[in-house]
Amino acid sequence: MAVAVGRPAARRIAGERRGAATGRVGFVLGRLATYAVLLFWAAVCLFPIYWTFTTSLKDQAGVLQGPTYVPFLDFEPSSLGWDSIFGDADQRAIFLRNARNSLLIGLASSAFAVALGSLAGYGLARFDYRFGPWRNRDISFWFLSQLILPPAAVVMPILILYNAASLLDTQIGLILLYTVVNLPIVIWIMRDQFASIPIDLEQAALVDGATLFGAFRRVVLPIAAPGIVAAFILALIFSWNEYFFAAVLTASRAVTLPLLIATQVSSQGIKWWSMAAFSTAAILPLTIVGILLERYIVKGLTAGAVK
């Protein structure tokens, strides 16, 4: 922040050196260019979302007449798209079941990942482990290296394993898998979070006779809440949006929203109103989360990267 505040003043000084008049003009032009670029990029980020939402309000005529942008002015809004999700009882049942799957699998796997990852992250931040030749560094690296595994490299064995264990097309199967996929990033965030907490409080609790776990749960965990929120949201984003594993490991009962959208893409053809309604419904929850909790997402993404 200090950098940002310092700069304009400094730039004014530099401008004055070159001559006040041209400096001020240059400054204003630079400002205008900056805002122009930022506004352009804001449009790039927002337009697909806006377009998808407005398309969900179109009917056949509204789509076929070519691109239109403003409801009521450009085209007559229609409820056709949303009717295709909620109008028909069967469609509604399918959509709600998939939305429920996404929600349940996302929340449960994120909660498990944060529970396991907090414990492990705390251990890695506070204790010196020694398992044979492996120390903390090696354990951390082993977890982090799992990020490199391409899903394609493990998906066939997992398919076979899940088939044998009757986990195919179950919510439990996806919850378990997403928990493990999220673990490295959660451990990374939580280790960083715990390492930033002064050690005195736990020591005081230990002197007072608390167990290690008691001190962790009652003293450290409440202070680590921002890290927990950050890790949970990032895990949730991944689970909610994951498509590849879900496509291989589910068929009907445990299908999630991305899979529903992907199958609709091929079956709906030009029924954009319905695709747009599906997409809007799928991205809306995380859009709201993103607007409200941007700070935590940034905290999670930058954990450990910036000292």
Partner: protein, 314 residues
């Protein structure tokens, strides 16, 4: 067991003696923090890895009643002659080699702009992060199948009005790859932007003030100070992005299905089709093992070569 909690704490350092009263020694209490995560990760990661290595040396077809038989290096020999494999691998490198540098440059430019005193900073930060929240599948439809649609999409319409004659985004392999890269960049740039902006904000302001007094120009300050000081963060961000870029699959399946022909098929897409749809498990798993080796080799190479440069500069 040495312990960061123990040395300064009388209670903790004598804990082994107290241990039995509480049921578990402190050493085991400590291990219990990390064991659950290790056990779960071992169960779900190690088995597929080890089993996958074995399957890669078999001729397993799921519908073959005789099951799987060991066939040595036959899969790997066939893969090396498989043009579709090499094409898919080439596409993976296109995605990483073109996509990541492009995304990095855009993110760096935006981060530099955002790292100034501007109005609406918070608005821009929130809006710029939003694509990160979008599912690639949904983004694939929203942008690839709708906004880029040649007949009814707004982007071809706009380009047409600007005088571009051929406005198709997916008519040939090269265009289709570049179009997929644009979609991929849309939701990938926010990650790099967030990392680089955090890196910029962590730079020491005193250094820049000193440079101002020395009369260093804007470009000079960027080239001699900002960019080199930002290199460690840049390297972390780019390596992570490359790791994820190697996995790109959702938008390909949704937008092009690997086409036209196999021109946009990546290795993940080919493995998916071969293994899951054609249930040619042995062959697909062998490709997956090779893929893993390639990814690790590239990451290690980047970390060793670029990492050394970064340390020299920093």
């Amino acid at each position: 067991m040495a312990d960061r909690l123990a040395p300064s704490s009388a209670a903790a350092s004598t804990a082994p003696a107290l241990g039995p009263k509480r049921g578990l020694s402190q050493a085991w209490q400590r291990r219990l923090f990390i064991l659950p995560a290790v056990v779960v990760a071992l169960a779900v990661v190690i088995f597929p890895t080890v089993f996958g290595i074995y399957v890669a040396f078999t001729d397993w077809q799921l519908n073959d009643p005789s099951g799987r038989t060991f066939n040595g290096l036959a899969n790997f020999a066939a893969i090396l002659r498989d043009g579709r494999f090499w094409n898919a691998l080439k596409n993976n490198f296109l995605f990483v080699g073109l996509g990541v540098p492009f995304q990095y440059l855009v993110a760096l430019g935006l981060a530099l702009l955002l790292n100034q005193e501007i109005r609406g900073r918070r608005f821009f930060r929130v809006v710029f992060l939003l694509p990160f929240m979008m599912s690639p599948v949904a983004a694939g439809w929203m942008i690839g199948r709708s906004i880029m649609d040649a007949q009814r999409g707004p982007l071809p319409d706009l380009l047409g009005r600007l005088g571009v004659e051929d406005v198709s985004f997916f008519s040939d392999g090269t265009r289709a790859i570049l179009s997929l890269l644009l979609i991929d960049s849309w939701y990938s740039i926010p990650f790099l932007l967030v990392m680089l902006l955090a890196g910029l904000q962590a730079l020491p302001p005193e250094v820049f003030e000193a440079a101002h007094i020395d009369g260093a120009g804007r470009w000079q300050r960027f080239r001699d100070m900002t960019f080199p000081l930002l290199l460690p963060v840049s390297l972390t961000a780019v390596v992570l992005r490359a790791v994820f870029e190697f996995k790109v699959i959702d938008i390909i399946l949704v937008v092009t299905g690997g086409g036209p022909g196999n021109s946009t098929e990546t290795l993940t897409a080919y493995i998916y089709r071969r293994g899951v749809q054609n249930i040619d498990v042995g062959y697909a798993t062998a490709m997956a093992q090779l893929f893993l080796v390639v990814v690790i080799a590239v990451i290690v190479l980047v970390l060793v070569t670029v990492g050394r440069k970064v340390r020299e500069v920093a």
